[in-house]
């Protein structure tokens, strides 16, 4: 489903072909991923769910070019992850916001431009700060911000370099439930409106159904696809009131339970 406002899609599809990854530790090698063949559609948000330690975050790290995969290829359009990184074509949000404590909010967001070797355009930094609802806090240090505000800042830092691909590794995992709901409601429009391709790792079924156009439920390690569920609901979504939302959430939970118990998913 294209973005609802009909804007052009800036992202490109991400294709993993024959992807598998094995950790070479001191003892026996640990297979973490695959084999995995999957395409993440351009301009869509895909959520990755699965049991703890199943390799979701590792998959994100491989796509971000932080580790080379043991086997297989990852391409965004025709580019490798390294090439995408070098032109600052992707941005990643981490579970703990990962703001540098000695930089102001503005400085932390501008850092992404500095790292991407682009001009630090403070007007667009401040505009983005306003869009994520943090105006007035430009000169504050991260320690002076609440957990939810820090996550907003981390998302703003991801968006300032206008990436084609957004990788979100449990970005709202460390905030309380109410704050998480508010962030789920406020922030996704910022990248979904641009048509950015996004991958979201999360543990929350509600969050996945609220944000994603498609949900992949992964098996326990090594991660393979257990279930592939489309979420054809219009944005913004209000879970509690919508029977269709509830129905999809139940399907995702069933798939997760099947994955955790290691049995094949019953036909739907």
């Amino acid at each position: 489903m294209p973005p609802d406002n009909g804007q052009a899609i800036v992202g490109q599809a991400v294709t993993c072909a024959g992807l598998s990854h094995t950790f070479q530790t001191g003892g026996a090698p640990i297979p973490a991923i695959g084999p995995l063949d999957v395409t993440f559609a351009a301009g869509k948000t895909t959520a990755l769910l699965g049991p703890s330690g199943c390799g979701k975050s590792t998959l994100l790290r491989l796509i971000a070019g932080l580790e080379p995969p043991s086997e297989g290829t990852i391409r965004m359009g025709a580019e490798t992850p390294d090439e995408v990184c070098r032109r600052a074509g992707l941005a990643m949000a981490f579970q703990d916001a990962s703001l540098l404590p000695w930089r102001s909010l503005r400085g932390n967001i501008a850092l992404a431009l500095t790292l991407a070797r682009r001009q630090s355009d403070m007007d667009s930094v401040d505009r983005l700060i306003d869009m994520v609802g943090l105006s007035g806090f430009e000169t504050r240090r991260p320690a002076e911000l609440s957990g939810g505000m820090r996550q907003r800042a981390a998302i703003a830092r991801c968006l300032i370099s206008e990436p084609d691909l957004l990788l979100l590794d449990e970005p709202f995992g460390a905030v309380d439930e109410l704050t998480r709901r508010r962030l789920n409601h406020d922030l996704p429009a910022l990248w979904q409106a641009r048509g950015t391709t996004a991958l979201l790792v999360t543990h929350s079924v509600t969050e996945a159904v609220t944000l994603a156009d498609r949900i992949l439920v992964l098996s326990p390690r090594p991660a393979t696809i257990m279930a592939d569920i489309d979420i054809p609901l219009p944005h913004p979504r209000r879970g509690e009131d919508d029977p269709a939302f509830q129905d999809l959430a139940h399907r995702v939970v069933a798939a997760l339970e099947a994955s955790a118990e290691g049995r094949p998913l019953a036909a739907q």
């Binding site: 971000a64 390294d82 990184c85 070098r86 981490f94 540098l100 500095t114 790292l115 990788l167």
Partner: protein, 528 residues
């Protein structure tokens, strides 16, 4: 609850009052001891010391200015070298094992021997003092900075890499600022060490400085002068330590709990690579030794090459006699060092536990211990020898004292690392402070204990060689001093080699023991 009182030391006495009480107690004990031993030419009390300081204020001020200037230059160069080395290791991680090993070896070189050699090399000027001060500071700063440059969450580094930037950008944007608190903590330890290095340099034939005055006072058996200069040097060291601590807090806030643990990279997996790594570790120092001497065309009369030492000890005509002389002195030294090393570590750990069980005592004692930790061995060694004599007791005590204070401070820090929840569980069973100590706190202390055990090795070597040289006239320290003055440079270099090898071997042995123990008690410290 005693455990709670420990975690909030202000509960018994406000910190400032505790510090004052500790210092006043120390001075009263000191004066009382001086009066008790009056006439035995051992101890000068604070009143006599003050009188001497006042009478010779001009002379002492000039000597202090000279020593501090040299210490400052050595501090600057040694720390710049440490920073450069740490940056190289961060940018080229493959260099780490080698850089750490060479750095440790240089740190273990006995100043007693390097001093005279530098004196021959540079003449009577200030260069040897400055070099020794630099040598005394570079290793601890390097270690502290390495810990700091690495104490960065993985996601901060990933953030840089996802923007397509590498190790250089990580260093500039993330690691440098993150390491500042560790750097200032390292500089705090380095400041008194630089004064120590400069004073040892002055012992080896300088014309001015506090070290020169110390030597004169000891030769003249001038008890008042010896104690006055020692007190002055101790006060300078404590002031330097305190000043850098204050500066660090101003610049970076609360300093991190710093364990000076040498970073230990994962060993290579295959046997072939291990052998290769070991070979590189052995060959590189030899190449450096030979290469530096050749590069600067140092006179072979005093700058002996590895081949000269081999001939002197193994293949030459009187090799057996040389070996016997060297190993005889070496055995004497070991007989002092090992008991002193063991006693210092044991007393430090035990005292830390005792202070934990009696926290009121801890609040009073800890500031004193932290201050005493920064007093250089050259100032305490003559005093201990005056008090305990030139026999085994004096030397062992010097080694033990040198190790005691750093171990005590590190172990107390370690004991406080016990996770709060674990303490709460023990409290909820009302299990008593002894059981808490043995089952929870001592295991939490082990990483700190082993870190001090490793850092104590160079300290023990410095202490024993200095004591033997300045006071007892026995062992390898005296041998080095003797051969330096009789220009028997083959023997001097042999002694240096033997001491450095011993340090490296002991260090490796303690590391192996540490790995085995920590694997059980603190798996995160040995995680690879």
């Amino acid at each position: 609850m005693t455990t709670r009182a420990l975690d909030r030391p202000g509960l018994t006495l406000p910190p400032f009052a505790a510090k004052t009480v500790g210092i006043v107690l120390l001075f009263i004990l000191w004066e009382a001891a001086a009066r008790a031993y009056a006439g035995s030419f051992i101890l000068a009390g604070p009143l006599a010391v003050t009188a001497y300081l006042a009478q010779h204020a001009d002379l002492l001020a000039r000597a202090t200015a000279r020593t501090l200037t040299n210490a400052a230059w050595g501090f600057l160069w040694g720390n710049l070298a440490a920073i450069a080395l740490a940056v190289i290791v961060i940018l080229l991680p493959r260099m780490e094992r080698l850089a750490t090993a060479v750095s440790l070896l240089i740190f273990c070189l006995p100043l007693v021997a390097t001093g005279p050699i530098l004196r021959v090399l540079f003449g009577t000027g200030e260069a040897p003092q400055i070099t020794l001060a630099a040598l005394a500071v570079h290793y601890t700063t390097f270690l502290a900075l390495m810990v700091g440059l690495r104490a960065v969450p993985q996601s901060w580094l990933d953030l840089v890499r996802t923007h397509g930037r590498g190790a250089g950008a990580q260093l500039v944007y993330v690691r440098t600022v993150a390491s500042l608190p560790y750097l200032t903590a390292g500089l705090q330890i380095a400041a008194p060490a630089a004064i120590l290095g400069a004073m040892i340099g002055e012992f080896t034939g300088a014309e001015r400085g506090l070290g020169v005055l110390t030597i004169r006072a000891m030769r003249a058996m001038d008890v008042d002068a010896t104690w006055a200069i020692a007190t002055l040097a101790a006060a300078l060291s404590i002031a330097a330590y305190g000043a850098f601590g204050w500066l660090g807090r101003r610049l970076t806030g609360t300093p991190p709990a710093l364990l000076l643990t040498a970073p230990r990279p994962a060993p290579p997996r295959t046997l072939g690579r291990r052998v290769l790594g070991l070979a590189i570790l052995i060959v590189t120092p030899l190449l450096l030794w030979y290469g530096v001497m050749e590069a600067f065309s140092l006179n072979p009369f005093f700058a002996k090459r590895p081949a000269d030492i081999l001939a002197f000890l193994v293949t030459g005509p009187e090799a057996a006699a040389h070996r016997a002389a060297l190993l005889g002195a070496y055995a004497e030294t070991l007989a002092f060092t090992l008991p002193g090393y063991a006693a210092g570590l044991a007393l430090g750990a035990l005292m830390a536990c005792a202070l934990l069980l009696a926290p009121g005592l801890g609040t009073t004692m800890l500031p004193v211990a932290v201050a005493l930790r920064s007093i250089p061995i050259v100032t305490t060694a003559p005093l201990i020898v005056l008090a305990l004599g030139r026999g085994a007791a004096g030397t062992i005590a010097i080694v033990a004292v040198m190790i005691f204070f750093p171990t005590l401070v590190a172990c107390l820090q370690g004991l406080r690392q016990t996770p709060r929840q674990v303490v709460d569980i023990f409290d909820s069973y009302a299990s008593g402070r002894w059981r808490l100590l043995i089952l929870a706190r001592i295991p939490a202390m082990l990483p700190a204990f082993f870190a001090s055990a490793r850092m104590a090795i160079p300290a023990a070597i410095l202490a024993v060689t200095t004591a033997e040289w300045l006071a007892t006239g026995k062992g390898i320290g005296a041998l080095m001093a003797l051969t330096a003055s009789t220009s028997d440079y083959n023997m001097l270099w042999s002694a240096i080699t033997l001491v450095a090898l011993t340090a490296a071997a002991t260090y490796a042995a303690v590391s192996a023991l540490e790995d085995a123990v920590l694997r059980v008690y603190a798996a995160e410290q040995v995680a690879r």
